[in-house]
Symmetry: C2
Subunit: 269 residues, 2 copies
DNA sequence: ATTGCTTGTATTGCTGTGCGATACGACTGT
DNA sequence: ACAGTCGTATCGCACAGCAATACAAGCAAT
């Protein structure tokens, strides 16, 4: 079992792989490496921790942090002392969300969907082995993490991911499965390739995927893929509810058609 | 009047101001400058547009864009062609939100507040002349922009901003007012220094601030400041509703106490 | 088709930027 | 008072990154 935090580990740490690429700017990579130090961190970091995490010398870390701090991408935490990501980050978040045409045209559809479905509605975008939540519409009771944009979950064990895989070839699905870190989140997380493949086939049949407690205990989730040009799946719509309130079948019968229609409205071939 | 988009213009474009700072890494600044090109953009950008917007040569832009693309911070838009911010941005968004202790401890309080108040609840953090929305809990009907994390609004004409100014000295308030670009959003936006100062004094009296249609027509908004160590205001809680449903007085009478209590729970001296 | 614009990509040599190494001062806790 | 952190400051050499330029690929218009 792994913490919900670890989902982010799908992000590879690009090291000195670019030694030969003449167009590759090392210092930018270092800067981003520094910002990425925070990915594994659970609290504000010290300069030396950043240096080690980023795999660079202390001098380099000093310069980079100084620069990023000047620019507002790193701050000192007012409560604790130590460095944290700076508020300027959010400017780029906004740019990402605004300029992503898929998100823009998804937004009204999602709000409408949320109005009909009274449960949590999420929009996620695929990034290789993971789905990154880009838009989150809460239901009444939610946890901290369920409100966070940028949170990511693996493709192989989530409803949205299965729905995405349903629109990929068997080869691609296998590729995803084998390359994924399939450490289970809960006792119910399916990790066996065959079990996952079976679920994907089901999703192909139904046009949507369901997962039961594979990421969070007590959660039923339903995912429908969003397709881009050439039928390539670009992400998914998720509807999530509590097994305390719903039978899985009823949940699907009620919400799958709505979610599917929403996904269709957003998809673009 | 200005578009809601222009609020972001509070971000100064740091040019070659750092010519003498020996610790300042130029190429990082250039990279961020490139990413910031998207701030003013309304659509995917071409390489040359990026070069001009960032104020650098085409060669530099080429290298930087290539690097950022390799790292996943810039992508090509699948629909339109052109460059857009990449999904890797959202990883840093998550880091920012997770590691910001204020946001972490605000989250449950906000969710609780949202449960009692059935209107939109937002958490914003101050960045000099602006407030940046870090957490957004929608009500039933919302617009696209009202759901976007990272969106920012000026301090001088928003409920949260007035609440923040209420906890600053008169000198600091004047400083904010004079340095702000006070182009009005609506016909009701207060831009006169004296009018703003008066509103700030009211906010000091009441412990909260109200604005009527100063940013969006038909909107009543209520803001309470969140204080950090030494009583420094770090941001605000916003509750926003529609004047079609509420009288301003009733809105305040009902929600101000709740919002104030929430803000107190989050504040830390 | 041919032309003329734009787009993105590739190459090279010189310049000056950014890293390593190192030293220093300010805080903590024992 | 001490050892152990922390962040900051300085400086010279090596090599990373920019300007300049040329090339290729796509699109519009004639």
């Amino acid at each position: 079992m792994r913490s919900i935090l670890r989902a982010q580990s799908g992000v590879r740490s690009e090291q000195e792989l670019h030694a030969d690429d003449p167009l590759f700017v090392q210092s930018i990579a270092r800067a981003m490496q520094v910002l990425s130090s925070f990915h594994q961190a659970g609290r504000p970091l010290t300069l030396n921790e950043i240096a080690t995490a980023a795999g660079i010398g202390k001098s380099a870390a000093q310069r980079v942090v100084h620069t990023l701090k000047t620019l507002g991408y790193i701050e000192r935490d007012p409560d604790d002392r130590g460095y944290v990501p700076g508020i300027r980050i959010l400017d780029h978040t906004l740019d990402y969300l605004r300029l992503n045409l898929l998100i823009a045209r998804a937004s009204p559809v999602l709000l409408e969907l949320r109005r009909n479905v009274r449960e949590r509605v999420d929009l996620s975008l695929r990034d290789d082995l993971r789905l990154v939540y880009a838009s989150r519409l809460q239901s009444k009771r939610e946890t901290f993490f369920a409100t966070l944009v940028g949170h990511s979950v693996p493709v192989f064990c989530t409803s949205g991911g299965r729905a995405v895989m349903a629109h990929l070839s068997d080869g691609e699905v296998d590729d995803i499965i084998t390359r994924s870190d399939r450490t289970p989140f809960t006792a119910k997380t399916l990790t066996e390739p065959d079990a996952i493949r079976k679920k994907v086939r089901e999703a192909r049949q139904n046009g949507y995927a369901v997962t039961l407690e594979e990421v969070l205990p007590g959660e039923v989730a339903l995912g429908v893929a969003i397709l881009g040009p050439a039928g390539v799946p670009r992400g998914a719509i998720h509807v999530a509810g509590s097994l305390g309130e719903w039978q899985a079948e009823e949940f699907c019968a009620r919400f799958a058609p709505l979610a599917a229609e929403a996904a269709r409205a957003i998809s673009r071939f």
